[in-house]
Symmetry: C2
Subunit: 190 residues, 2 copies
């Protein structure tokens, strides 16, 4: 997606160690118009998979997931990282290592909002190691739901997440793919 | 706003102790269409205040803030509750007591995204005690920015937040106002 690629080139920063700073337009300051365009693109890419719900992880996944849900006319569920008091005592919980925080984070979804046989589209900001998305897949599976597609804004193909998730045999779309961040640069796959 | 009021009556739950469960459409599962309508309404209410940025707090404020920013054509900044590694070492940080968590939470904004003399519209899901919003106001003030309006989806007028913030002498709009949650009910102000 050219719009997102150009924005990464203009406002993204390679901080080293494979960390891409995009907090000017995705995950601290957010550009609603860009997120809207990304949601529209996800809706186009996943129009035919019969998804019934969009699932993401707080926090950075919320903006693209919300815009995707808007265009596909689907509810959005974001997995919480801590259990609020409004959630029932019995929850679906999994643990995923966080790349940018260097620790493990919990991903929690209330059984109220993940149903047996529901068709789930996972949307997130990054596909890097795939650990967070694999955690969301586990939550869906435990609930008896079926993940039918995965969409991310930015894939870092050199971190192997797509490979990790390939066993699912479902469509995985990233709006831009970065193939290398060596030597301070940002190299796109195409 | 009638649409939101009807949704609260249908899907909201009074859990006691002044806690309103709205996680079927606002803060765990999100209804994008409803959030879009709320954003449009905030854009109408705050069209004339010359805001240059929307400020909110993660996590539940993101959806309504994003939709408001979309309609006002403004960037959205969400205060983080922990400092990610992509953020500079020097940040704006304040501490606000959390009603639903029973502890204090940090609210952190990078100086990159709050500028001197910027005109800030604060959007959040709830106006209850006003503690979180007062924290966002402090962050804006420390940055030398100016808060010019406050909008929330749901005001619980019996918790006094509006009074706490009245010294700012700026427009405060809530899309629905709940005046009482005694005896298990949900009573709207109008």
């Amino acid at each position: 997606m050219e719009l997102l690629k150009q924005r990464i080139l203009r406002d993204g920063k390679n901080l080293g160690s494979g960390i891409l700073k995009v907090d000017r337009f995705i995950n601290h300051q957010v550009d609603p118009e860009l997120m809207d365009a990304c949601g529209l693109e996800f809706a186009r890419l996943f129009a035919g998979i019969g998804a019934q719900k969009v699932l993401t992880a707080e926090i950075s996944g919320i903006a693209p997931a919300l815009m995707t849900g808007k265009y596909l006319n689907l509810p959005v569920v974001y997995a919480r990282k801590s259990k609020p008091i409004t959630m029932p005592h019995e929850v679906y919980l999994t643990v995923a290592p966080s790349h940018t925080k260097g620790n493990n984070v919990e991903l929690i979804v209330s059984p109220e909002y993940l149903g047996r046989d529901e068709r789930i589209l996972i949307i997130d900001d990054f596909l890097a190691s795939g650990a967070t998305i694999a955690g969301l897949v586990r939550l869906a599976q435990v609930a008896g739901a079926q993940v039918v597609g995965i969409g991310t804004l930015i894939e870092k193909s050199f971190e192997g997440g797509r490979n990790l998730l390939s066993y699912l045999n479902i469509p995985i779309h990233s709006l831009v793919t970065i193939s290398s961040m060596d030597a301070g640069g940002i190299v796109f796959a195409d």
